[in-house]
Symmetry: C2
Subunit: 300 residues, 2 copies
C-alpha cells in the first residue's frame, strides 16, 4: 500500500510537471505584445494549483489508450478555463479575494481591468488550443470536445453555477439545491476534463464514456464537499487561499448544511459511487481510482 | 442609385431581422435556470445594435455561395462575442459606461457580478454554437472557424486590443500605434466575421480568402475611424451611447490624432482600398461593396 501511494505520487508529479510545461509552452510569451496582458495571463496560470483537472484528463486518457501528447492539450485547455474562472471569481465585484495559491490574486498583482481581460483572453485561448492542435483522428470528434468544453464553461455549466452561488449568499439552501449549484460550478468542468481526456483516444464506446462521466460527476461533488470541509477547518497558510471565507460571506456550504462529520461521510459515499462506476475497466482504471482517493483524502 | 440604396436597405433589414431571430433562438431561454443570468444574457444581446458583423458575414457568404442557414450561425457566434465584449467594456473597472444602444448597460440594469458572468457565458456560447451546428461540409473547416474566432477574440485579437487601449489612456499615440490598437480591438472580429462567413461556403481558394481578409482589415479600420468622428460630433441621443466619452477620458482617437477632416479622408481612402480588394469578384461582391459604403457614410 505504501508503495502504491508512492507510485501514485510519482505518477501525479510527472503529470503535474508535464502540465506545467505544456501550459508554459501554449501561453503567449511574456515578451509578445500586449506584454503586460501576456505577463498577467502567465501569472494567473503558471506555477501553482493542484492541477486536479489535468490529472483527471491524463488518467482518463490512459483508460482510452490516448496519446499523452494529445491529452496534454485537452488538459491544458480545461486548466486554462479553470484558471480564468479563478481570476474572475477573485475580482472585487465577485468574491473580492486577495490571496490565491499563496500569491496575490491577479487583480491585486496587476489591476482590475487587466484581470478582467486576462480571464477573457484565457477563455479564448482554451478554445484556440482545441482547434489548433490535432487531438483526435476524426475532426468531428475534436469538434465534440469544443462543444463539451463550451457547454461545461457556460451558463448551463460553470458560469451558471457561479450565478447560482451568487444568488444563494445568505440563503439556507437544501442539500439538493446545494448539489445543483456545485454540479454546475465545479462539477461541469471536472466532467469535461475526464470525458475530453478519454475522447483523445478511440477505444471507448458511448456506454463507457457515460460511466466515466458518472465517475466524474461523483468525484466532482466529492471534491467540493472536501473543499468545504477543509475551508471550514484549515488555516490560510495550509490552504494557500483565504480560509473561512465562505462562512464569513454567509455562503451555504456542505459544512453549513450537514456539519463536518456528515459532510465527511458524504464525500466517502461519493467516492464509493465513483469507484463502482469504474468497476468494469479493470487495471487501466488504476490511476482514476487513485485520484478518487487523492481527492477525498487530501489535506489541502 | 436611389433604387440601389433602397435595395441595399431592404437586404440589410432582412439580414438584420434574420440575425435577430437566430440570436433569439440560440440564446438560452429566459425561463431556463439560472434564470436571471439567462435574462441578462438576452438583455445584452437582443434588440439592438447595427449588426454590422452579421451583415458582413452574410455578404461574404454570398460571395462564397454559402447556405445562409449555416452563415447565420457563424454570424450569431461573432455577434455574441461582440456583445460580450461590450458588456465587459462597459463595466465600472473598464469604461464605466451607463448607456448602450439607448438602454442602461448590463451591469446597471442587473448588477456587476451578473454582467461579468453574462460576458463569460456569452463567450462560451459563441464557441458552443460553432461546434454544435453543422457549418461546413468538412468538420476540419469548421474547426478552422473555431480557431479563427478564438484567435480574433483573445489576447492577440480583440482582448489584446482592449489592453492596448487601456494602456494608452492619457498618452499621445502615433498613427501607426493607433492603427495597431484598432486592428486588434475592433478589426480582428470584423475580419473573423467576413472570413467565417466566406468559409461557410466551399467555392473560394486561399488567395480569394486573403483578398476578403484584406477587404475586412480596411473596412474594420474605416469603421473605427468613422466611429471616432461620430463620437466627436454626435449627441448621446443619436448615438445611443454616451457621446464624447473618449475625449473626456483622454483616450487617443483618430480625431484627436488627425482632426476631423483628415480622419474623414482616411476613412474614404480605406474604403477605396477595401473596394479594390473586391475587384475580381464581380457582381457577387455587390453586398460587400454596399456595406463598405454603409460603414463609411453612416451617420450613427
Amino acid at each position: 500500500m505504501a508503495t502504491k501511494t508512492a507510485d501514485f505520487r510519482d505518477w501525479a508529479r510527472v503529470q503535474q510537471s508535464r502540465t506545467e510545461s505544456v501550459l508554459h509552452r501554449v501561453l503567449p510569451g511574456a515578451e509578445i505584445a500586449p506584454r503586460r496582458l501576456h505577463q498577467a495571463m502567465r501569472y494567473a496560470v503558471l506555477g501553482g494549483g493542484k492541477r486536479v483537472r489535468p490529472l483527471l484528463a491524463f488518467a482518463a486518457g490512459e483508460i482510452a489508450g490516448a496519446d499523452p501528447a494529445r491529452v496534454e492539450i485537452a488538459a491544458a485547455a480545461v486548466e486554462i478555463v479553470h484558471a480564468y474562472s479563478l481570476v474572475h471569481d477573485d475580482l472585487p465585484c465577485m468574491d473580492d479575494d486577495v490571496l490565491r495559491r499563496g500569491k496575490p490574486t491577479c487583480h491585486v498583482e496587476y489591476d482590475e481591468p487587466t484581470a478582467l481581460l486576462v480571464g477573457d483572453s484565457l477563455q479564448a485561448l482554451a478554445f484556440q488550443l482545441l482547434a489548433e492542435y490535432r487531438l483526435a483522428d476524426d475532426p468531428a470528434a475534436q469538434l465534440e470536445m469544443v462543444r463539451l468544453l463550451a457547454t461545461a464553461s457556460g451558463s448551463r455549466g460553470m458560469a451558471g453555477g457561479q450565478a447560482i452561488d451568487l444568488a444563494s449568499v445568505g440563503k439556507a439552501l437544501s442539500l439538493p439545491e446545494l448539489e445543483f449549484m456545485h454540479i454546475h460550478k465545479t462539477g461541469a468542468l471536472i466532467r469535461a476534463a475526464v470525458v475530453m481526456g478519454a475522447r483523445c483516444g478511440n477505444s471507448l464506446d458511448q456506454a463507457q464514456l457515460d460511466r466515466l462521466d458518472h465517475f466524474a460527476k461523483c468525484i466532482g461533488l466529492a471534491f467540493q464537499v472536501v473543499d468545504d470541509v477543509l475551508d471550514g477547518e484549515a488555516s490560510t497558510v495550509t490552504l494557500g487561499k483565504t480560509a473561512g471565507k465562505d462562512a464569513e460571506q454567509n455562503k451555504p456550504t456542505y459544512v453549513s448544511v450537514l456539519g463536518v462529520p456528515a459532510a465527511r461521510d458524504m464525500a466517502s459515499d461519493l467516492r464509493d459511487d465513483a469507484l463502482e462506476a469504474l468497476g468494469n475497466f479493470g487495471p487501466r482504471a488504476e490511476r482514476l481510482c487513485q485520484l478518487a482517493d487523492f481527492i477525498v483524502l487530501r489535506k489541502f
